[in-house]
């Protein structure tokens, strides 16, 4: 689970859609693929990548796998951005600060 994994995971639009759908509520693979353009196996494969990147977790409930978002991957990404690019982002960091404090 490196920021490399996170970046390539997030670079794919279908995976972002899956993630953004999971943001609303945890879902099974079937539910996720029902409102997705691609097939269920494709969704399974994407979820594998997302899991490897620390962006989702899952638990088993019978034969169902319930997937939820996980913050770990995002934290790793943000850490990379901060470590390497905080200077460049300082101006915008102030903006973050403003939002956080309100």
């Amino acid at each position: 689970m490196t920021y490399q994994d996170v970046l390539s995971a997030l670079a794919n639009p279908t995976r972002r859609l899956l993630l953004e759908s999971l943001r609303n509520q945890p879902q099974t693979v079937g539910e996720l693929s029902s409102d997705q353009a691609v097939s269920r196996p494709a969704v399974s494969q994407h979820l594998k990548v997302l899991k490897q990147a620390g962006l989702v977790t899952n638990e088993s409930k019978g034969t169902r796998r319930i997937y939820s978002t996980s913050a770990e991957g995002l934290i790793a990404l943000r850490r990379y951005l901060d470590d390497y690019w905080s200077d460049a982002l300082e101006a915008y960091g102030t903006e973050i600060n403003r939002r956080q404090t309100k």
Copy 2:
């Protein structure tokens, strides 16, 4: 210049190396490719992608093209992360806050 562009640009290790090298100081294409594993045309192609993503800019000086980093792309990325994932990142956001205020 969308966060999609930024994510796929950053997903490539060679492009990150180029960016991180430019972080130290602006450089020409020749300088950049001299300490890079890949050929000069490859560097040119990567720079094109980075520019499209708003991560670098360049100016011409004779036949030389001097590339520098640009914050625009990073800002777009951070905006995406904040808009979609601020909840997930709230805990870490506090950490950002702490750093910013010191």
